[in-house]
């Protein structure tokens, strides 16, 4: 029996405020609170709450046959906890049905899997802990930021105890293979890979309300018929998209909610089921291995990293940022840690993308008027951040030396106790000796 594996991604970066260079060193608050709250409100009211309610309804009316997975970045969860705790409650309710799985992510929706291995491990762990504390279960399947994947990343994730990973069904990786099978990592044999069917995913997220599309309007019946008409051996239909496809990219009036609601009925009529990624990875065996030496992502036509690390601007910003990774991890300053995470959000680098200049394709969504402006603003903020990192510990000390010094300082309490007991012992010995005399 075929199963649809549907998963949604939730992330919204904290937008940076207009930060001029003369504020460097004077102003350490980087976020545009008004905009951020406004964006979040809209997401909550038009997407998260109504969509969560719809999904809950679908699970209940289908008798738990409908299943769905979410990957929510840690920074997003923090924002929700702070501004919209009702959404967290609603996700908890979804979690309790047992039909919903929460996937692993990088905590800050960052590109650390490419730039900073230690940071990557730390963020994945931090995110797992966050998910466990909120929804009671540790994630077992991982979905990286922007679905970035390579053999190397797969290996790291496998070592962190995940059983599999979701990634893009990029044509240059799959070749003649279909995305609708379960695959395995080339050398971590037990590590499984599910590849996104981007055609069927984009049909919903990008084309659902496009009047010029020859398949418009898309009905649940038609959609399921496409799925059931795939060859019988193709059993896994992995459909992933950003959650704001439901209610924002396709607004409420487009009929997207009714489309979703009608999915389980038509699916079950056509003997198509629903599964969560971990169910599939537990039950099914991998049909083949796929090798991926260079990182892929789910972006654009190229399905590579060029949208985030494609030009000199992005390269410089990322280099400067991750150069201090080790040092920031040694700090305990809460505010610094907070900014460190938020400055890593992949979106900041996406805004610096200049690809659309030459291709003539429409510019990506960006709060900035041009990639250059995005870079200027980010670099000003980053300069201030780097200054703060420097102020924590003088740059003249090497990381290793610093680490050793910090160890000494942190252990000084226990060391003092240790030494005191030794002094006592010696004193006792000394008194004993004098007594003997």
């Amino acid at each position: 029996m075929k199963s649809i594996c549907l998963y949604f991604q939730l992330h919204q970066p904290l937008q940076l405020k207009r930060y001029r260079f003369f504020e460097i060193g004077a102003d350490h608050y980087y976020y545009d609170d008004y905009t951020n709250e406004e964006i979040l409100r809209r997401l909550v009211n038009e997407c998260y709450i109504p969509a969560n309610n719809t999904l809950l309804d679908m699970i209940k009316t289908s008798g738990c046959k409908f299943k769905v997975a979410f990957s929510i970045s840690g920074t997003m969860l923090e924002q929700l906890e702070f501004h919209a705790p009702e959404v967290i409650d609603s996700f908890k309710e979804l979690a309790q049905t047992g039909c919903v799985e929460f996937l692993g992510e990088t905590y800050a929706h960052s590109l650390c899997s490419i730039y900073d291995e230690d940071e990557f491990k730390q963020q994945v762990k931090k995110h797992s802990e966050k998910i466990e504390s909120l929804f009671g279960k540790k994630p077992t399947v991982f979905r990286n930021t922007e679905m970035i994947y390579s053999d190397e990343i797969g290996e790291q994730i496998s070592k962190l105890g995940f059983k599999g990973m979701l990634t893009e069904g990029a044509k240059h990786i799959l070749g003649w293979k279909s995305p609708n099978y379960l695959y395995a990592h080339p050398y971590c044999k037990n590590f499984k890979l599910m590849t996104r069917n981007f055609k069927l995913s984009d049909d919903i997220s990008l084309r659902f309300s496009n009047w010029n599309w020859d398949q418009y309007p898309l009905t649940a019946e038609k959609y399921i018929s496409w799925i059931s008409s795939t060859p019988d051996t193709e059993e896994i239909i992995s459909i992933g998209m950003s959650y704001n496809s439901i209610g924002i990219l396709n607004n409420g009036y487009s009929g997207i909610f009714d489309f979703l609601k009608a999915l389980p009925y038509h699916a079950l009529m056509n003997k198509v089921g629903f599964s969560t990624p971990s169910e599939i990875m537990d039950k099914k065996k991998a049909s083949d291995v796929i090798t991926c030496s260079f990182p892929i992502s789910w972006a654009d036509e190229e399905k590579d990293l060029s949208a985030w690390v494609g030009n000199d601007l992005q390269h410089e910003a990322l280099q400067k940022l991750y150069a201090v990774g080790e040092r920031v991890r040694l700090c305990t300053d809460k505010a610094l840690q907070y900014d460190w995470l938020h400055l890593q959000s992949s979106d900041h680098f996406y805004y610096m993308c200049t690809k659309h200049f030459s291709t003539g394709a429409p510019a990506h969504y960006s709060p900035y008027e041009s990639p250059y402006e995005a870079f200027m603003n980010y670099m000003n903020i980053l300069s201030d951040f780097l200054q703060r990192v420097d102020e924590q510990y003088p740059t003249s000390i090497e990381n290793e030396e610093l680490n050793a010094l910090l160890k000494t300082i942190n252990n000084q309490g226990s060391r003092i106790v240790e030494l005191e007991t030794e002094i006592k012992k010696l004193k006792k010995n000394a008194t004993k000796k004098t007594e003997k005399k």
Binding site: F22, A317, F357
Partner: protein
Amino acid sequence: MKALMFGWEFPPHVFGGLATASYGLTKGMSQQSDMEIKLVIPKPFGDEDTSFLQIIGANTIPVVWKDPSWDEVNHKIGNIMHPDYYYHLRNHIRYDFRRIGTNELGCINFASGYPKNLLEEISNYEAAASVIAHAGDFDIIHSHDWLTYPAGIFAKQISGKPLVIHVHATDFDRSRGNVNPDVYAIERRGMDMSDHIITVSDLTRRTVIEKYGQPEHKVTTVHNAVYPMEDRDQYKKIERKDKIVTFLGRITMQKGPEYFVEAAHRVLERTKDVRFVMAGSGDMMNKMIHLAATRNIADKFHFTGFLRGKQVTEMLAQSDVYIMPSVSEPFGISPLEAMQVGTPTIVSKQSGCAEILNNAIKIDYWDIDAMADAIYSIVKYPAMYKSLREGGRDEVDRITWEAAGLKVRAIYDKILG
């Protein structure tokens, strides 16, 4: 297709941006094999490049019948016009222009550039145009800028051929809104009488539609371009300790020089290793020197005076940032020239060229903070400099006069049906 163009200036004798644009456009159009261009300008010097078009000096067109000998004509104007053509034109004098002062050849002595008696020159130019119009042999009339609109209209009335006017600037740009009624009247009449209007940017197009009451369908934008600079590799940037930020142009109200000084002050508050250069001259120069002194940045702020020819390119090539904070600029070719030599460029959003540039920073002319921030970023962040330098150069190389010429040709074809 034969076009009769009326212009006012032509390189190498450059008084304003019009010369460069006239040269570029005519050269771009001359790439079309069936295109023949006659360009009338008031006073050619004889050293113009006539390899791709015919230049007719209005000061060599007889408007009053005189009978000089062939040798005399050849001696006096032979370097500009063939004596046979002089006689040919003389046969087409139809009106009595004896009220106008003429020389012994029956021609009007035009001053070059923009003399004090400009309005008189414009009407004399009209007289010269009438003779050319009677001589005929053209399909379409194309007038560049308001000075030549009356000539274009007269030629249209005489020949019945359609008139295209090319708006390189309007008086609203030059005066920050306080238009001269005489100039406005000439501009307005030119637009009303034309068959089609070409503007150099959408910004100018809006002005023409809104302030001159022209119907939208009659106005088309053809953005200017820039000619490839063959010798650009000879300009090597010398590495200096201090970065150089340059303003280049007439120091007048229209160009927004005071915003540049204020932005310089903002930048110098934070960082010391930047120098600012204001190149050019104009009626606000002394005021700017005073302002720089008041802001206490005179040690880092330099004035060069008027630069010409190669000096301009050299200055642009040696700069780390070029900035054009114009309050109102119909197009503005100089940012394109700066980008050609690889200098990162900042332009105001109130400039027409901002419409077609991606690899330049765009700011509002009044936004001193944004301007200062952009300057700071370019001199402090190497990736910013490198991206703008390389991206800008590539981008400008793709903006060609040939393409602009094809757009103008399409307009000709449309009105000629």
